[in-house]
């Protein structure tokens, strides 16, 4: 009974807000409409409405998928200091990290659904009625870890919120093991996603043992960037108190992770370019263009400039404490890593093809509609989740004991 009331109160609270709130939701709603159109086109006509082809079989959908798995994994940057170091300022709002993870996993699922040619056959990989090529296919590992991660975060977040709501005591023996597992699990999701790419021996851009660690490092820069943005927006627009200390911790983590990412990128570039074998063609294409094809070059250098500048500025403690500046830096880093990982790493890995052909890929408008729509759906869900969570954390929605005893 209590649980149903929790669900009802949470839901009711999450959809009520001021003008700004509804304008934001409407804004997202616009992209969701485009998404509806794009998906209809793709489902009826086939993948031919995308810019993909036999040379570039993976494009923006996979790029966003990989990036978002990283964002989901980075929930651990909030959870880890909260529960392992017992860092109070973050612990109070750790649940927001888990909500980020939930929204990000939902988005990555949407992207994968857009990527596959026969989403209507998705049941083919359900164990039991279908065939699940586990442990051979890394994609099956990825499906397992992502689903479990979604469930873990869902339970952790809502168990915590429910206990707050009903003013019950958290059962440490139930809750803490889940937290520990979710910390380990967060790392696993991005590692497995990296393995899916870097075990393809025929794609030299990806066939690097540096990929998993670089994925995690860059995710721990992009994720906290997103969380900082969320923190700053939330504390401006809701009554939820998020301390400066919490934001400072996140910017610290973001800075370290960004530094490591830059170092790893640098190592990769030296390792590839010095010997200059055929295996460096993808990277050369990305950095300088090859055979007159230079589409990705501006993207690459934009991400380098963004990430290096942001890193240098972030090293100045005063800059990290200037929240107006930090807000823009975080937005830049989020974009910078998106370019680095999505556009840079994924798209360049497709060029040249295994038989040496250079083909440039331009996403179609339908593809862009679907991508924007997937993001809009994720942000929509995230907004409602955070809104409800803020209500619970501030005590605005709580269980009314009297009310319960009156219920039949």
């Amino acid at each position: 009974m209590k649980k149903i009331m929790f669900a009802r109160d949470f839901l009711m609270y999450s959809v009520k807000g001021g003008v700004k709130f509804y304008v934001w939701l409407l804004f997202l709603g616009f992209f969701i409409m485009l998404w509806g159109f794009g998906n209809f086109q793709q489902l009826t006509k086939g993948m031919i409405v995308t810019g993909l082809n036999d040379q570039t079989t993976w494009g923006l959908y996979v790029a966003n998928f990989v990036f978002l798995v990283g964002v989901a994994a980075s929930a651990v940057t909030v959870v880890f200091p909260s529960y392992i170091y017992n860092y109070k300022p973050l612990k109070d709002v750790a649940v927001i990290g888990e909500l980020v993870a939930i929204a990000a996993i939902i988005m990555s699922t949407l992207f994968i659904t857009n990527h596959i040619g026969r989403p209507d056959r998705a049941w083919h990989f359900s164990p039991g009625i279908g065939i699940f090529n586990w442990p051979d296919a890394i994609l099956t590992w990825d499906m397992i870890v992502l689903n479990v991660y979604l469930v873990l975060n869902f339970i952790c977040a809502f168990y915590f919120l429910y206990k707050k709501y009903s003013r019950g005591k958290i059962n440490k023996w139930f809750y803490m093991p889940l937290i520990y597992i979710s910390i380990f699990w967060a790392v696993s999701i991005h590692t497995v996603t990296a393995f899916m790419l870097n075990t393809m021996a025929t794609r030299p851009m990806w066939f690097h043992s540096i990929v998993p660690i670089k994925f995690i490092a860059s995710a721990f820069a992009a994720g906290p960037a997103f969380i900082i943005l969320a923190f700053i927006i939330i504390r401006k627009n809701t009554k939820l108190i998020i301390s400066d200390a919490a934001i400072n911790k996140m910017s610290e983590i973001m800075t370290y992770a960004l530094g490591i990412t830059l170092f790893l990128s640098f190592s990769e570039i030296v390792t590839e370019l010095y010997p200059g074998t055929e295996h460096s063609y993808s990277l050369k294409y990305l950095m300088f263009g090859m055979h007159g094809l230079t589409q990705l070059v501006p993207w690459f250098w934009a991400s380098v400039i963004i990430n290096v500048t942001a890193f240098i500025v972030l090293l100045i403690p005063a800059a990290r404490k200037n929240y107006a500046l930090l807000f823009y830096l975080s937005a830049l880093i989020f974009a910078g890593i998106w370019i680095e990982k999505g556009i840079g790493f994924i798209l360049s890995g497709m060029v040249p093809t295994p038989i040496g052909e250079f083909v440039e890929y331009t996403p179609s408008i339908i593809e862009i509609f679907n991508c924007l729509g997937n993001w809009a759906i994720g942000l929509f869900i995230f907004t409602l989740l955070v809104k409800g969570a803020a209500g619970v954390l501030t005590g605005e929605i709580k269980h009314d004991a009297l009310n319960v005893s009156n219920q039949p």
């Binding site: 082809n53 090529n133 899916m196």
Partner: protein, 329 residues
Amino acid sequence: MDRREFMKSIGITGAAALLSNPDELEAKTTWAEHFQKAFRLMTDDEKDQAIKRLEERYSEEHGREVKVGKEPAMDGVLFGQALNIQKCIGCRRCVHSCVKENNQSRHDPQGNATEIEWIRVVKMEKGNFSAEDRDHGHPFKKGEEYGISEGGHAHNNVGVVLEGEHYYEPKKVPEKDSFYFPIQCHQCENPPCVKVCPVKATYREADGVVVIDYNWCIGCRMCMGACPYWARRFNWGEPNIPKDDLNTDTHYLGNRPRMKGVVEKCHFCLQRTRKGRYPACVEACPVGARKFGNLLDPESEVRKVLERKRVFRLKADLNTFPKFFYYMD
């Protein structure tokens, strides 16, 4: 798009079709096809039913009687092919006969389907060296006496180099200063494509041929990412096969018409080779550059080639162990 096509394209609405479509039999067929098992796991009965359904659908769609075979791998047979790059003249007869034999999608002027060719013939320049650049290289400074430390400029790519030039359109083949290098599925013994498939829609059969169950493939294209020989093609749209060009003698795992959203590739013409015939490409080659046969039979043509000629495998470093070999006399 008419209603029927729409139903097919969103197969999941089969249930809805069952309720609302007056043509109930057809709806049931879509429904059943949608929920059929992977071919490998079907009982003989289920296989026959699935084949009957397909034959009905194909015959109706294409307006011609289509036969779908299910011949299994023959005992004691492991198929292999060897290609003589010394002889190949780059005429692409193999390509065209393959397209026709295997019902590949043709160019669609309306842009709703892509053109698919499983065999691609890559042109290799014989290359030459430049006399003027003999002493040029990098870094190069006038008066610099240490010599060229990073690399000379007098070279050109020579030999088998994969640069993906498969669009050549000369008036006459063979062209001067070029040789040709056809690439198709190598039927790897260690197929990276099979390993990565999340639903085992693609797998190696007992006769060594890597096949795809087109009704089971989910179109994730992991296999296309993993294949080192760029052998796989995707049906980006609904395939376009002109009625008169349809080859009606098909095999379930071979050349039966595909649907949109699934992967396809060379399968050594199962529909022919499992009945003791040559693949279409082998028959079409005007210079006899392609030799096909049973790798387990010492008397087969392909084994004779392996014994007597200089043979190499493409990208041997990847340990895929192709059963498609290149050789020179």
